[in-house]
Amino acid sequence: MSRQSTVDSRQGEHDHVVPVKVYLAVFVTLLVMTAATTVISGIDLGPWNTVVALVIAVFKASLVVLYFMHAKYSPRLIRVVIFGGIFWLAIMLTITFSDFVSRGWMS
């Protein structure tokens, strides 16, 4: 019974139809960010080139997840699953990479 009530209390939120204006704004932002990342990659920023490229890519991906994939309007359970996926990816990347980078330190 409690299962049903949690769903129903969110029903309005879950059935949310995202306005076309929001989709168009996200689309234009994604195109502008694509142009930005291409232009900035031509400027020599040293190691910061990669950082800037990744920050822009993460921003673009966040827009797609939040608006095109409706994460912003999804129930908390789905948002937890999305966060869990990204968090486990971060574990795999950071622990493996930190091991790899620090191997030379001991010898």
């Binding site: 769903v7 029903q11 995202v18 142009a35 990659s41 797609v64």
Partner: protein, 238 residues
Amino acid sequence: MADAAHEHAPARGGSGGLPPQGSAPPGRLQHHFESMAQQKEAASLGMWVFLVTEILFFGGLFLAYTIYRWEFSRAFAHASQHMDILLGTVNTAVLIFSSLTMAMAVHSAETGRKKLLIGFLVATMVLGAAFLGIKAVEYTDHFHHHLFPGPGFHYPVPADARAAELFFSLYFAMTGLHALHMIVGLGILTTLLVMAKRGAFTPEYNTPVEISGLYWHFVDIVWIFLFPLLYLIGRHLH
């Protein structure tokens, strides 16, 4: 509109004896769910769990890329200069455009506009096919320049050849796996198109469009990361 749709719908759930509650149209609510909202939420959750496995699947390749790029950063940057940045940028825009049309297809299904839904599904397929076409042009160019890893690999700078071959191995593995996902996506869109033409989707029932959209957008996100990491890392060295 809703009635026309359900003439073609298999009579599932509704035959269980108990009438579906609320505004649930008969035949679309499976008997083990309590409402259409709960059913849709379960389907979305399942799709997201699948996408999490996909994140970690591609994540392994991104990890391999990160480690080898750390090891051979200069050679990777130079190897990246063999990419056609114009084609890469255009393809990024094509894929982002296809995500917009996919989002609009979901919107059309949610608001019950069948003709618009069909139009946006076709547009998404056309853009997806255009992406694969441009990718094929790029692959042809790499083969022509002997940049495909293996016995035929030939690189203008012999000292960097091994590292460059690693870069191109990762390039073909990552973009190839991505292209495979695009091809699967086109198959899913074809199925949606047939279902949409039969009138299977209504404002009450459009879960297949919604969760296929999740998959399509995920493939777009993978490309959003592949593009700067494979095409743009050597550009500032020109």
